[in-house]
Subunit: 139 residues, 6 copies
């Protein structure tokens, strides 16, 4: 078993705001992250796939294909977008890094099977800033 | 003459949008940067001051004081904010990295004099992403 | 289960020196790391916490609170300090990166419970330099 | 159990080319990576060893010895070399990052036992570029 | 005057070898960089353009256009290539980082005029490795 | 004219402390940097040399020779040392990053002439931390 990773990035706006709470409670819980007019980040996304190398190519997965898949399924939908307003799979969810990573998993786990049937998604690692990041392994 | 630099960062939303143009022209000129619902970045800011070291301290400028000054004069005004809507010194200006850097200069050049009278601001370097950045030397 | 990480840093002096050994044996075992007058590092510390996101906040743990906790419990005690002479929880122990990481675990594992009762410390990752680092998972 | 890591680097040329395939099929499968005249990378190698710290040294493994071992067993054989033509342990294998990492494991797992009998190799992490990397845990 | 920079990268093979010298003299002068079978690098290229921001866009130069120009004029010609064998503008020249940077200048200085007539190329910065790099300002 | 740079690093202890002042004044002026038992850093040093490429080698300066020179003249004297106690060229001087950089210049400017008579030292850039650094151009 080998773990193969590809790093991509996107720039997006978001805010942390729970509509069932008052403005005051949102500020108390989320501080400046609840700023009504949004803020944003350069997100870094690392997608890790596991499997055994194909003897003819030496590849677990073709990283060029993986990069194109991530761009088509994820980056095009979130880059230069507002994660709360513009991204259908985030509607009705808190735009926390945790939740974003779990939604990316739901999209990428089956999509990776279409380009590498013998491999599987292992980890979604998402940096909101160089100092804050999450990892999700699917369970 | 020694050049001394301090790096700070902030996370903000913005868009590139010229209100005298049509929606179509804005999209044509700015592409996804004109997204109506904003996008955002982790900006990295490097402030460089020049001068001669004080013989008693070995410092051109106390970097702790410079850090506090940058946070008070700049970071508190732009971090977790919308650069188009929330930042008074950007009102009526295109929120390009070039313009942001020039506005930072106007604020920091005199402010640095108050904490280091014999030193002077040399450069504002502003990273919008790790791959896009600008430098302004005041003229 | 989601893994959430926060990165902090501190600058400290230390040396590797076993007092039961002769000066010669210390030099033989630790080389320049045994330098009598100390040396130092910019340590980078990554604290990883695991748990399930709270549905109301989307957070496993509030990273602002985690950052403040790490600063209060760890950074204030080690930053701009001598790890052999100034840090009570290192007294009588070799100031190796391994031992420092294990002591940080002992402090942070219960402390994290006080701010996030449903989450738990997963990993302490400590960089002594960009090329030398350790990870401790608590057992 | 503590995990201790050392990072080294090397610069090498390679190509991805399966000699049982036609030129056209190689280009189709590997794209520009099949360029007949080679291309190259600054590879970054992270070797992780696990074990318990020795009470007299505080070390799982002496990282200076580990660095020298990696340089002698790996770096001297691959740095400023062609991975397809100059490196005996890669003869007859696709020079994919996956395969290189697995060959490094075969060499380093027993070699580490000679300098740290109570520790063991845990992971080979190999960056081909800052955005493409693999990890191998030995099975 | 504002300085605006864009960072791109490419992966290439090369060697340092002067054909008027003997094999021995090449090894003496260039060490492992003269390896007959090539070696390679992940080059990082930073292109800096200077000018005054356009009042309507806030841009010195559209960085999207600059990125596309660098990719078309430089990256497509050198990425996944052998700098000695595959790149016409390097034929007959030592493939040192200095010479590569100067050739990039000759191509980019007039090309930038075609997309930003009022701006001009200021600097080519080329990293061969994270620790070795050159800068060329055109004279 | 081409500018060629080489990056090296060293780990050292120091403190900022002016012996003509009281303990209280030192704490007031230097804060935690005055800690009696020292603190330390992973310093990063970038040495930039300028000149014209030699037509036979394509080099302004042989970076392998420059690296060895920096290691012999600087790194061996400061790495794993105490900058206040162990380094003769710092005796009697405040161990500020500014002063360290200026002392490095005095040593390296003539030394570089011995390995590259037609080139000259252009800049000493010294990072004390990733966020605090100085540059000295010799005047």
């Amino acid at each position: 078993m080998i773990y193969v990773s590809r790093k991509e990035h996107f720039n997006a706006a978001h805010k942390l705001y729970n509509p069932i709470w008052s403005e005051e409670k949102n500020i108390e819980m989320f501080g400046p992250c609840a700023n009504a007019n949004w803020h944003g980040h350069n997100f870094e996304l690392i997608v890790t796939v596991k499997g055994t190398p194909n003897p003819e190519t030496g590849f677990v997965i073709d990283l060029k294909k993986l990069s194109l898949l991530i761009r088509k399924e994820i980056i095009e939908k979130v880059d230069h977008k507002n994660l709360n307003l513009d991204v259908d799979f985030m509607f009705g969810k808190m735009a926390s890094t945790e939740n974003i990573a779990m939604e990316f998993w739901k999209i990428l786990a089956p999509a990776i099977k279409t380009i590498a049937p013998d491999a599987q998604l292992h980890c979604i690692k998402l940096y909101e800033t160089p100092r804050n990041f999450v990892e999700y392994l699917g369970e």
